[in-house]
């Protein structure tokens, strides 16, 4: 087991910052090429006219998940050293709903807003300012929210662990679910396009 390389001290944290920058560039390119620098494309996800967000996101998740799974199974990656955020059920559910609202109202998510700013979108700039404000509000309110923030703790746990299923089985189910979602999305898009007679971006 040699990977994750950083966890085995192949390089120090200063070098990791350079790597962060390079990975960020690749991230930004992928997002921009995907059309995610445009709020109208991101939002059209929620009107069923353009399901790009779902397609790109789930494809990315499935790709990374399969890659990580197989690299771990052959013993190249030590999966136990890959970072996992802890699970706090209720705060994450509530945070998700709030974030979803922010997504459709603001038209961006943090990562895509950066790409949009980089391509000159002024509304993205306003969005980023809004985010900073939201974080500040959260920080200031934290003493009162702290208890809720730490509630619903389930440890650092994966879906296979929680539901007592084999990791491989969950991987398979996720692939199935994603393909099902893609099929539904393609069908939905076609129906919408047929109704309006316009091409999908």
């Amino acid at each position: 087991m040699n990977a994750p390389f950083f966890k085995f001290d192949y390089f120090n944290s200063d070098v990791s910052l350079i790597i962060a920058f390079v990975i960020g560039i690749a991230f930004g390119i992928a997002l921009e090429k995907g059309g995610f620098g445009r709020a109208t494309i991101l939002a059209s996800q929620f009107y069923f006219t353009n399901m790009r967000v779902l397609k790109v996101m789930f494809t990315a998740i499935v790709t990374a998940m399969l890659g990580l799974y197989f690299l771990s199974v052959i013993g190249f990656v030590d999966l136990s050293l890959v970072y996992l955020t802890q699970t706090n059920l209720l705060p994450m559910a509530v945070g998700g709903v709030i974030a979803g609202l922010g997504f459709i109202i603001g038209g961006y998510c943090p990562g895509t807003s950066m790409v949009a700013v980089a391509t000159g979108k002024l509304d993205a700039l306003v969005f980023v300012v809004g985010m900073i404000f939201g974080i500040l509000v959260f920080g200031e309110m934290f003493p009162w929210i702290e208890e809720f923030f730490n509630s619903g703790y389930r440890g650092t746990i994966t879906i296979p662990s929680y539901f007592n299923l084999s990791y491989g089985l969950v991987v398979f189910l996720v692939v199935l679910m994603a393909i099902g979602a893609f099929a539904a999305a393609e069908w939905g898009e076609k129906k919408m396009a047929a109704k309006t007679g316009k091409e999908i971006l």
Partner: protein
């Protein structure tokens, strides 16, 4: 239902001019290929660093550092800020996420420039003014900032990265984002379509 579709078709008609720019210079518009590319970037982060990507964390660090500069005692007593400030042994701005986010800015700009997609403008639907768009952008950003911090991550960190490692909380978050988005979509339709 027909009036709804009429509105949608009107939106697409108005967007035709901009659409055209996007149809040229798009080496791969296949969202699945983009997704695979993005997935590989994410995978490389896992294999090289043992962590996923992120976005909101960088902004949080900036906010925490700013608050700390202005009022150090205040941020020291606050568990949220202090987490982003570290234990004082290293400059909190030498943060992996900050450098990654700078990269995203660079990469987005690079890709946009090459495809002639860098243009000053405002993304919005045809039925809303720029001013209102800015108001909504600000509100949306505020909600997203707050929600992302409450959930310990945003779409990149929780949904994408956490999703790929089958993290329980991440999948819960991801599902609820879609719930929140679709729930409010009807009320926001004036802004987009």
């Amino acid at each position: 239902m027909t009036s709804l579709t009429k509105w949608i078709s009107n939106a697409f008609e108005k967007e035709e001019g901009q659409e055209h720019i996007y149809h040229e210079a798009k080496p791969f518009s296949n969202p699945y290929l983009v997704g695979i590319g993005l997935g590989l970037v994410l995978l490389s982060a896992f294999v090289i660093m043992g962590r996923g990507l992120g976005a909101s964390g960088a902004l949080s660090t900036v906010v925490a550092v700013t608050v700390n500069t202005i009022a150090p005692e205040h941020s020291a007593g606050n568990n949220f800020y202090s987490e982003y400030l570290g234990d004082g042994t290293a400059n909190p701005l030498k943060d992996w996420l900050i450098f990654q986010t700078l990269g995203v800015l660079a990469g987005g700009f690079l890709s946009g420039t090459i495809s002639h997609r860098v243009k000053k403008g405002v993304e919005k639907g045809p039925r809303i003014s720029t001013k209102m768009r800015f108001v909504y952008a600000f509100i949306g950003g505020g909600l997203l900032g707050f929600g992302a911090k409450l959930a310990r991550g945003c779409m990149s960190g929780q949904a994408l990265s956490g999703g790929a490692v089958l993290n329980l909380g991440s999948w819960v978050f991801m599902m609820m984002v879609f719930v929140g988005g679709y729930a409010a979509a009807y009320f926001m339709r004036r802004q987009w379509i």
